[in-house]
Symmetry: C2
Subunit: 231 residues, 2 copies
DNA sequence: ATCTATTTTTAGTTTTGTCTAAATTTAAAT
DNA sequence: ATTTAAATTTAGACAAAACTAAAAATAGAT
């Protein structure tokens, strides 16, 4: 009974703000027992370092982060678990919006930021099943499993692919709206086949074949596209 | 520009709490230019009258309710519009949960209470379309249209139906979990045909034919079922 | 090793939404 | 028309989450 209450307090009764902090810390690498500075978190969340300090103390009290003054925070196992459950929800909702409601991949983030905080295990499990248990979100980011497992993919940046190598476009590094819209406009989509034909030493631009059609791509673009090698 | 900001402040930037107050006031009849007392609102929301007073002032400042000290509040046109948009979202999400995710009708309320606060016009319009623009929620309550129109139905309580009259079960007055579970257990569902065979003067219980099968129903039950008359 | 510049924390304030307790108003009853 | 009981509001306090400005600690450069 006491045990159950502890569970309820730490897992169910997380505030929206606490959840957002955990998510951010995870994305900044705080799950790899790396210390993330309050400054870095503040910048990412567009808030002030002093606010982060307050929250660091609170999350530390709840056993979700390890916090050392003037050093930074890293996630505990409980913190990682919670962060992954939020990221899981976020990404599943993104898939739902795209696959079931015809949202475009540049529209989903904002809405998913809200939906990820809905508290109902049954709901997200049903959404998962409705979508047939997708492994990746619309931007190619992996969706953690229910028990918090992360399936990393063997992918590299297009800009790091050698000449004459083949692959499939599987994800974006930058998922900002302008970048995604740019990709749409240029018919670059996840799932496309890619062959690197040539690299220009001068500006690092690439000549590639995408879905059979030849095109030229700037380094800026190539360094934000993830590709899975074929061979 | 200034005008747009006013719109943003009053419509988009409603807090969850404000939305819940408006919804409650509407459900208590505050949309019919009837004054709802702070006490009634407090009881419904399981909060204190003094808290309601505070919120009444705030909503009044925003032009969403008319508030007269010691009298109570009623919704303005803007308040009604906002309340209806929340109720619309709530009921559409309920339909979604039942029709697309196989929730039972006694499970949906709690989750819909969260989902109704998601801020995305596009999202709820897409959900509406996905569901093929349903007119009623799983409990038979009408879903307001996008422009805030309410389609009332010509329905009466089963307990008020005369002997030998026929109808279709279209809604529940009490949508508490125990009542809904009771109906499930007794195979009483919306859409069932109903004929009143006999009334017992002693305890006001009814003998009815439901989907061809004869059964006896207490007054307690009959006074919480809405029926649409056939003839 | 000391001094700065930067980072981080502390202390104190604000806003939102709630509460309790006290004061006020209303309404009902004589 | 008073009186009293009930309803309602006010005043003051609190918790959460943020902020600003000042203080403290760290790290880099000499």
């Amino acid at each position: 009974m006491l045990n159950k209450n502890v569970f309820l307090e730490k897992y169910f009764l997380m505030t929206r703000s606490e959840e957002n902090y955990l998510k951010t810390i995870f994305h900044l690498g705080g799950g790899d027992s790396k210390s993330i500075t309050t400054n870095a978190i503040a910048e990412q969340m567009e808030t002030k370092p002093s606010s982060v300090t307050d929250m660091a103390k609170k999350l530390s009290e709840k056993g979700l982060v390890d916090y050392v003054r003037y050093q930074g925070v890293s996630l505990t196992d409980a913190g990682i678990k919670t962060a992954l459950s939020i990221i899981r929800k976020h990404r599943l909702w993104e898939v739902f919006l795209v696959k079931k409601l015809d949202f475009s991949w540049d529209e989903v983030h904002e809405v998913a930021e809200q939906l990820e905080h809905i508290k109902s295990e049954k709901l997200i499990d049903k959404i998962d099943a409705l979508l047939d248990f997708p492994k990746y979100d619309p931007h190619g980011d992996p969706i953690p499993t229910k028990d918090g497992k992360f399936q990393e993919r063997d992918e590299k940046l297009l800009s790091d692919m050698p000449i004459n190598s083949n692959g499939i476009c599987v994800g974006v590094k930058d998922s900002s709206v302008p970048f995604l819209k740019f990709l749409d406009k240029n018919k670059i989509a996840l799932g496309n086949t890619i062959k690197v034909l040539d690299k220009e030493d001068f500006d690092n631009s690439l000549r590639i074949q995408m879905n059979g059609k030849e095109m030229r791509i700037s380094h800026q673009i190539a360094s934000n596209l993830y590709v899975k090698k074929n061979d």
